[in-house]
């Protein structure tokens, strides 16, 4: 099967970026967005074609989907075996990601024509979107871990550029900086991890790395550092990189702030695609994790579980609708990460892996939908705060319906797609670790609660006084909503168990009622509580928050993570370390250098008296010197 054309999927948006970027002064808004959408449509079509071709026409070997290198070229040679390649790797997860990225990206491109209309720098926005699409496509099709790092950085910078889109707004600038630096900090670990893996296994290539029977995977068991093998450490480091991008604890602080970007950006980058890169990374390296470093996988599982719990709790207290969604994203990504952490390699053990990818897919669709819906709401009321919203169902019918569908999906109400994917994750957790299972179950309830809290407060509840009557979004915005809503419906019935597994072989799944019933129940309870509390304006929320007291305050302030970070970075690193380094440089190193100059000058000052200008003194010294030297010679003192 020839997949060489897949290299075009990332390249077309790149060209679109270059064209819009270079000509952004010259192009009209329509042309610029037209170029962007056309390019994305091309990639979209190719991605779907690839998916079709891969899943339906490619021959399976031994009942398993094969990993196919579509295109590969050496880009940067380090040593014989270590080199950065650029190419496309076609396997179930990359194909799935292509579909996800192209779908959401295309929808966002279309949506933005309406949402961003009349904004200053509209063309810039489209060029950045194209840049992001290029980077994201490049990331998902990476053939080797270093290529992934390359695009990893590029999505980071596109994210930076897009969050800081309103660059004259200080909060946006701060948020973009924060996002970039935090993820960069995590990327540093990723890089060290990559280098270590490269050192141990002498390859960066995914195929070689993840081949369960290959030599690379067997490496690194022996060398111990603090009780764990080097490979384990390397994989933990790599996971830290992934955690940074996916906003896992403790690198999550950038995600809520990233909501300063335009809403379509949040939908695309900070909900559906870039933030799941961490999940994708772990999934990509899953065989390595599973075989060479099960300890690392345990870390992955717990980080995911704790993050999802944390985010869900915080989400219940936030008032900015985008922030609620951001924490919800974090929580859902925590789910996916946990699912990977509790997964095994083969057969039914591998259900976690499948579930994780499944949830990634469905989540991308419904979370993008939620964000775009929120965007439509914000577009209508010009505010992010739910206090200034309410009763919008009358004004925004389409948005309301689609938003409701998405909310039901994320709450895990059958038969919407969220139910299936979440159920599989819970099943995986149930079989692996009961503790994690209960956390996840609780989070499922919380999710339903805070999502419906959001839904009721925005679309029901008391209607505040609107300056303008809110009206529904234009068609360009409605179409993506409806399209994604449809996806949220359908996605649950896709046969992921046949398509996406660790070893490419289909696995049997069946509904486990032990898990499914409590999960659904928890969801329904959450919805019910939310309905009681928020459908009409009541005093219950205030009472409850008062009852929780300190805990509420802590939660509301996101457990002061930002403050801790601020303290560490600004107070300690910037002020104490950096200032003292600068001081040290000026006053110790430089002063030493200056000091040498001063000593020279001072000693010159001291001996310059000898240069008295008095010829007789010179004469005296000269003659005495001559005599002394002569005597020395005569007495043979020099020999």
């Amino acid at each position: 099967m020839d997949f060489t054309y897949t290299i075009l999927i990332p390249l077309i948006p790149l060209f679109s970026f270059l064209i819009i970027g270079f000509l952004h002064n010259k192009l009209s808004n329509t042309v610029a967005s037209g170029i962007g959408i056309t390019a994305l449509t091309a990639s979209f079509v190719m991605s779907y074609y690839t998916a079709y071709k891969y899943f339906f026409t490619t021959e399976k070997i031994d009942g398993a989907y094969q990993k196919i290198i579509g295109y590969n070229t050496v880009w940067l040679q380090f040593t014989e075996n270590l080199h950065i390649d650029m190419g496309t790797l076609i396997d179930p997860i990359s194909v799935m990601m292509l579909v996800v990225v192209s779908t959401v990206s295309l929808m966002v491109h279309i949506y933005s024509t309406g949402y961003m209309k009349g904004e200053d720098g509209f063309n810039r926005f489209y060029s950045f979107l194209s840049l992001f699409s290029f980077s994201m496509f490049g990331l998902v099709v990476s053939t080797n871990i270093f290529q992934m790092y390359v695009f990893w950085e590029l999505v980071g910078v596109s994210s930076f550029l897009l969050i800081g889109y309103y660059y004259d707004k200080p909060s946006a600038v701060a948020a973009s900086k924060k996002a970039f630096i935090v993820t960069r900090f995590a990327d540093m670990f990723f890089l060290i991890g990559i280098l270590t893996v490269g050192y141990i296994t002498d390859t960066y290539d995914f195929l070689a790395l993840t081949d369960p029977s290959g030599s690379a995977i067997a490496q690194g068991g022996g060398i111990l550092f603090m009780g764990m093998s080097t490979m384990t450490w390397a994989l933990i480091l790599i996971f830290m990189g992934g955690a940074g991008k996916s906003a896992m604890m403790p690198f999550h602080i950038w995600l809520p702030d990233a909501m300063e970007g335009p809403t379509p950006v949040s939908a695309l980058i900070h909900a559906a695609t870039m933030v799941v890169a961490g999940v994708y990374l772990v999934a990509r390296l899953f065989p390595v994790y599973s075989i060479s470093a099960p300890d690392a996988l345990e870390v992955v599982a717990y980080v995911g579980a704790i993050s999802s719990l944390f985010a869900a709790i915080v989400a219940t207290t936030q008032f900015d609708i985008k922030r609620v969604l951001a924490f919800s994203t974090m929580s859902q990504i925590g789910y996916m990460i946990t699912a990977l952490g509790v997964s095994g390699m083969h057969g039914h053990e591998g259900v976690g892996y499948m579930a994780s990818m499944f949830h990634l897919f469905t989540h991308a669709m419904f979370k993008a939908l939620l964000f775009l819906g929120a965007g439509a709401v914000i577009h209508a009321v010009h505010s992010n705060l739910m206090n200034e919203m309410g009763g919008l169902r009358k004004y925004l019918p389409v948005t309301h319906i689609t938003f409701l569908i998405a909310t039901l999906t994320i709450a895990g109400v059958p038969p919407l797609s969220g139910f299936f994917s979440k159920d599989e994750i819970l099943v995986a957790a149930f079989h692996h670790d009961k503790f994690i299972f209960f956390i996840q179950l609780f989070v499922a309830g919380l999710t339903a609660f805070y999502m419906f809290r959001l839904y009721f407060r925005v679309f029901w509840n008391k209607e505040p006084h609107y300056h303008h009557t809110p009206h529904d979004a234009p068609m360009s915005m409605k179409f993506p909503l409806m399209f994604l809503a449809m996806f949220s419906f359908v996605a649950g019935f896709l046969p992921f168990n046949e398509w996406i597994t660790v070893d490419g072989k289909a696995i049997e799944i069946h509904t486990e009622w032990v898990v499914a019933i409590p999960a659904t129940l928890f969801g329904l309870i959450g919805i019910a509580i939310a309905m009681v509390m928020y459908k009409k304006e009541t005093a219950i929320p205030d009472k409850i928050s008062a009852a929780f007291g300190k805990f509420y305050k802590w939660t509301f302030n996101k457990f002061y993570f930002d403050e801790i970070y601020m303290f560490v970075t600004h107070k300690i690193i910037f002020n104490i370390v950096s200032k003292s380094v600068a001081w040290f440089d000026r006053n110790v190193v430089d002063a030493t250098m200056d000091g040498i100059g001063h000593v020279t000058e001072k000693s010159a000052e001291m001996i310059k008296g000898l240069q008295s200008g008095q010829i007789q003194k010179y004469g005296f010294v000269f003659i005495s010197g001559a005599i002394i030297i002569a005597i020395a010679f005569i007495l043979n003192l020099f020999y």
């Binding site: 005296f620 003659i623 005495s624 001559a626 005599i627 002569a630 005597i631 005569i634």
Partner: protein, 177 residues
């Protein structure tokens, strides 16, 4: 004859000492004159009449007169110098004595061997020929060089001694330095 050497030597040494110690400048110049004349005497003693004559005319005649002129231009005749500082005198004296002893030791210990070739007759003719000869033992090059030097010194002396017209600005410059 020998006695003449001792007389001249005594004069030279005594008046040399007086020249460098006298506190009246004009007297010092006069003592110098005596030294120079006595030196000319030594030359006569060695039978170098030409050089003795030059010594008398140029040194005793020319230079001393020049010195006296400048003394008259710059000092009062009656003016006597302050006594020299003790430390300076002792240090310089010691250095000089040490130097003299050293040099004398070396000179007196060294065995000089005289040339065995037949002596030449030193007279005006041979001097003149040698001065303008460019062959062996000819001194035409130094002669020419010395002529240029004398010319340069003459011009230089005139230029330097001439009253400068930019005297005022010079002084200002000096202040700023």
């Amino acid at each position: 004859m020998d006695i003449m050497f001792y007389i001249f030597s005594t004069i030279i040494l005594v008046f040399s000492v007086l020249t460098v110690t006298s506190r009246k400048i004009l007297r010092a110049a006069t003592y110098l004159l005596f030294v120079l004349i006595a030196t000319a005497g030594l030359y006569f003693l060695l039978n170098y009449q030409f050089i003795a004559a030059i010594q008398l005319t140029l040194y005793a005649g020319g230079i001393v007169v020049l010195i006296i002129f400048s003394i008259l231009l710059t000092s009062h005749i009656s003016q006597s110098f302050e006594p020299v500082g003790k430390l300076k005198t002792i240090a310089s004296g010691l250095a000089s004595v040490a130097g003299a002893l050293l040099t004398l030791t070396v000179l007196l210990e060294h065995e000089f061997t005289a040339s065995t070739k037949p002596p030449v007759d030193v007279n005006m003719e041979s001097i003149g020929l040698s001065l303008l000869s460019y062959e062996r033992d000819g001194f035409v090059l130094p002669f020419e060089v010395i002529s240029v030097l004398l010319l340069a010194a003459m011009i230089g002396a005139i230029v330097i001694a001439k009253k400068s017209e930019e005297k005022v600005t010079n002084q200002e410059n000096n202040k700023s330095l």
